[in-house]
Symmetry: C2
Subunit: 202 residues, 2 copies
DNA sequence: AGAATGAGCGAACAGTTGTAAGCTAAGCGG
DNA sequence: CCGCTTAGCTTACAACTGTTCGCTCATTCT
């Protein structure tokens, strides 16, 4: 096995170990370097061959989580083309992600308001990808000035994100309620924004 | 000084020490019993005379934070009576709270998605007070079925709460933008919900 | 072939943490 | 006024933390 190849392999082992230790009652901040190293199967000191400190590992995790979310977005777009219903399909795809990768979503959710400014802005950046994309869609589909399209997109993303957070603490039989509630909220927003766009009509 | 009186006094010292150690880069989870005791001016072991463990202290902090929020709500109502503008006054009052007691707000913000289920539900309960109150107001002011009033109130509270979180990382000169953006979002929601309430008309 | 690189290791160190045990002394109830 | 209660203290311990240092040894480069 090549030298670089092996290095990449244990780097992944570290990342996977970190992800696997995240849970409902263990945040990234409460992970210890030694614990992660133990699960990755290396000595504590070997950790430093790959990351300068835990913060650097954390930023890597946030990046990977953001990547997963963007892949999800692409997947949702494909479904929408076949399926039609934009709002419902988007939310359902998102909810599948949240329930299927709850630890990844929790990471973003927590670090969004965490103690590290670097983490916070990294998460904010990932979320902004969503907002920008949705805003562009809104600009095309509706007759809406840039500024308002962005404000509308932000509100929508926040509501969806929050529904994901709710789902983490809710029993699965409530998912469909949460989903339909959020759909209603998004329709209100779209409807209201459209009304203000063409003030004369409403 | 009475015995009970003195006990209450150091209990408050502990609570105040905990609050004062919270900051942008120090969450409740990262407080240590010893540090808190040190700042409160007592021996580490004396802490146990007042709280069984740090979790019990944390729940107390959340309760106090919720209390402050409810007082704020009352204050907002008074302003509204004199001032008129419901949405703007509410948000401005809230933003004053967030910027003036940022550590208290941060506590709620973080523990809402923290690692303790007890903390999460305690925060959720405090937020539900807002939602319930707002929902009742909406039921009275608009012609809206209970279920929808609640969904509308939830969306509004989430958006306002999130704006507070934004403000924590934003420079003060952006506050007025954040405020007006949120006002727009809430108006859309109100407008859209009203539209769906009387479907025939729009 | 020989030298250089660098991933991984073990031992060690100085801190910190939560908590148990037992003592002191001040306030309280009888 | 005496005995009980109890807030607060000191001491102590075992468990963990992040990080430094110096070593080995397989891969890579020349």
């Amino acid at each position: 096995m090549s030298r670089a190849e092996q290095k990449e392999r244990t780097r992944r082992a570290i990342i996977n170990a970190a992800f696997s230790q995240l849970s409902a009652d263990k945040s990234f901040a409460s992970l210890s370097l030694r614990e992660v190293a133990r699960e990755a199967g290396i000595a504590p000191t070997s950790f430093y061959r790959h990351f300068a400190d835990m913060d650097e590992l954390g930023l890597t995790l946030v990046d990977e989580a953001g990547l997963m979310l963007r892949q999800l977005m692409r997947q949702a777009r494909q479904r929408i083309e076949k399926n039609g219903s934009v709002i419902r399909t988007s939310i359902e795809t998102f909810m599948e992600f949240v329930t299927g990768n709850s630890n990844v979503f929790r990471l973003l959710l927590r670090e969004r308001s965490g103690t590290s400014a670097a983490f916070r802005s990294a998460v904010a950046r990932e979320i902004q990808h969503f907002v920008a994309e949705l805003a562009e869609y809104l600009r095309k589909e509706t007759i809406c000035p840039d500024e308002l399209a962005r404000a509308q997109a932000e509100a929508m993303v926040i509501l969806v994100f929050h529904t994901g957070a709710d789902a983490l603490d809710a029993p699965p039989e409530q998912y469909s309620y949460l989903t339909s509630r959020t759909i209603t909220q998004l329709r209100w927003l779209a409807h209201g924004a459209a009304g203000y766009g063409r003030k004369a009509k409403v």
